[in-house]
Amino acid sequence: MKEILVRIGGEGGEGVISCGEMLTTAFARSSYEVFTFRTYPAEIKGGPAMFQVRVSDQVVLSQGQAADILIAFNEEAFQLHGESIHPEGLLVYDPAHFKPDGAFEAYPVPLDGITLNVVKSKLGKNVVALGVCARILGMSIGLLEQMVRDRFGKKGETVVAKNFEALKAGYEYVDQHPFKKKLPMFEAVHSPVKRVVMSGNEALSIGAISAGCRYYAGYPITPASDILEFMERELPKFGGAVVQTEDEMAGIASVVGASYAGKKAMSATSGPGLSLMTEILGLAAMSEIPCVVVDAQRGGPSTGMPTKNEQGDLNLAVYGAHGEAPRIVIAPGDVEECLYYIIHAFNLSEKYQCPVLFLTDQSLAHRTQTFPWPDFKRVPVISRLLPTEADLKEYKRFVITENGVSPMALPGMDGGCYAATGLEHSERGSPNFTPKMHALMSAKRAKKIRVCSTEKGFTARYGAKKAKIGIVGWGSTQGAIREAVDMAAKAGIPVAHLQLKMVYPLPEADIREFLASVEQVIVAEINYSGQFNQILRSHFLVPTISLTKSEGLPFVAEEILAKIRSVAAGSEKPVVGAALSRQ
């Protein structure tokens, strides 16, 4: 197995991210698997930026931990990330800036000097660094030139030529100044599997379009803004309309309006925007109108940490709205699942005529991963139940049925006239506040969600088939947990893992079976209070051990492994009231 982790650190605006992205695409085009991770300042210029790519000839499950190579654009980057360098790693640094100290091999490359010499400006340092990386890792310069052309081609031949020079200068510097460390070489290989590399936000946007989304409305917010931009650019090609609304409430209100009129519609936001949308999510639940809302979670509460990672919006997604407003919450586990599970999200929304929340987070929204070429037929697209001619003879929009789902008339249909309303209503849709009707309609709305809990394919088992220790996770933590489970197996601790792709309603049968098969259950998630742990405990009356992290960063496998070891050693017991006094 061939694997390496490259981390690039510098100042925001120095091109750290674009250098990393070009390197990532180059790896992917050379048929390697990649998993990227980035941090960036909330400001436009200045503040530290970091990009790392973990690359392997095997599937990469998480962002990894120690850097085999750190490229420090300046001293601050070294101060921030020096500790992350593997003791046997390599530091690429600019001797004009600082003198590093550490167990690793320090490899001086005068990045600024080369850049000034060749490009005659400070801009272009990132492309020099790209050349350095490429040579260190045995990649062909031709491949990197293609990356540069893809990225700068629009700016004209002069710019492309300048960047070629910068690339070559970095590349040749390494040729002429050898370092000692032996590193794996990532020359292009042929792979029979055709692959793509993209971010979670890109994958879910593509998936949404293939699910039939033809109306999108949203308001800019980190880390979901690029979904809006993607849709603005791409949706019109498929005949869809996109509106950047004046706020999130207008966004979701127009989505519900468009869906009422018959379009599959979506909005995407982050925590603060979801807070604003909750009233209208209640309306969609009450008036039984399908809609999909992506929440790319970030550090909260309030403005919190806009560019940092957290799974802190689970309670808001599951319960957020006054009254009881049943909805479905889907949480994809990796970039590939963003693409397929958003199709599920649209399908469930159409099938059960209710809002579906799609919970990603900063780390999933902006990480890139390789995965096989999308198969758009893998998840067949479903559309809402429409009334038949017989239904329309004496049309009742909210007719009571066995599974709670009633045929939904669309404006323009003969005989289907009704007023959708947020008021409690009768089967025909007229306001009705009688005790009997509220009980009946509350049960109808809840019934749909109950039925949805029996949907198949919303959990994934991993690891040991039989084990005393089980670990449950949801959403973007999937890869890190799997990696930890693999590491535990190697250390002789069998662990069974269940990852949930639907966190509300809970896929009951699968969870029951899993809980019955293990003796101790760890619930892992990225928030402080263990929100999912509480949901799981309350639904299944099961004692669990909560593993949480609230640092604005995703899990690394070693942290999960440490908890597994501690549970295996018998030093962890479920605590009553764990939410308030974190274990």
């Binding site: 379009k263 404006p411 323009g412 006239c417 007229s430």
Partner: protein, 280 residues
């Protein structure tokens, strides 16, 4: 096929207080729909919350009674969702100028092809008598025992400032005139705003006040003259009824969307291929 007024009346019992101005607006809407001979199935009446919010429930067409303040974005979604529909948004002064005040300018700048009837009763009626953004300062009520601290907003002034492409005012006391305005508003290409003075006889009966002050805009006035419209709304002695301003030269939001989509001949398979290839 022609539709008599009764075709637009739903069988839901109307819950407004006897004498409420909203009855006249509802009747004007029935008559306007009949005059235009619109098929009920192609009409969507969208509303927010408040006394006027119930209006769609009393109309036999498609309707959407949404949440407080979001009538304009909801109506926009419906109109973009199916551009063939006639979309009429209704809401009160509180719904449109307090909680939902942020949406009015954006509907105007999009020039979304819907008609927005603001049923202005100068009060919060459904919550029983609190002051609204259009309540006159002289009003004394239960939420303003010492008078109203804020000055009142003028919806016509706002609409003119936001550059709404059709701005008119009608009055519950003049049914025929209000009917004509609704017809003109619906036929207008672009966003049309009709300020309907609709007194609340229970909490703030302004019939007498308006009865003395309302005056028709003279037939010789030119509704394409914005400066004149600005003079008319500021007149201290009259409350003018009629069409203040009208501009049909502007593109509507649906036309702009259509033009953007129109650049791309339908070929989903090709666009998917191109899209995914970008990530290869």
């Amino acid at each position: 096929m022609s539709h008599p007024t009764t075709d637009y009346k739903s069988d839901v019992k109307i819950t407004w207080c006897p004498g409420c101005g909203d009855f006249a607006v509802l009747n004007a809407l029935y008559q306007a729909l009949a005059t235009m001979d619109l098929d009920p199935k192609n009409v969507v009446v969208v509303s927010g919350i408040g006394c006027s919010g119930r209006l769609p429930i009393f109309v036999n067409s498609y309707g959407f009674h949404g949440v407080h303040g979001r009538v304009l974005p909801t109506a926009m979604g419906v109109k973009i969702g199916n551009p063939k529909l006639t979309v009429i948004a209704v809401g009160g002064d509180g719904d449109g100028l307090a909680i939902g005040g942020g949406h009015f300018p954006h509907a105007a700048r999009r020039n979304i092809d819907i008609t927005y009837i603001m049923l202005d009763n100068n009060i919060y009626g459904l919550t029983k008598g609190q002051t609204s953004p259009t309540t006159l300062q002289s009003f004394q009520g239960k939420s303003s025992p010492y008078g109203v601290a804020e000055e009142n907003l003028n919806p016509i002034a706002l609409a003119l400032a936001y550059d709404v492409s059709f701005v008119a005012r009608g009055y519950s006391g003049q049914l025929k005139h209000l009917t004509d305005l609704i017809v003109d508003g619906v036929n207008h290409k672009g966003f049309s705003f009709i300020h309907a003075l609709s007194p609340c006889v229970v909490f703030n009966d302004t019939y007498k006040y308006y009865g003395k002050k309302v005056t028709p805009i003279a037939p010789y006035e030119n509704p394409s003259n914005k400066m004149r419209a600005l003079e008319l709304w500021q007149d201290k002695h009259h409350i003018f009824l009629g069409t203040f301003y009208k501009d049909e030269t502007r593109q509507t939001f649906n036309e702009r969307i259509r033009d953007i989509i129109g650049q791309f001949p339908r070929d989903d398979e090709k666009y998917f291929r191109e899209l995914v290839n970008r990530y290869a």
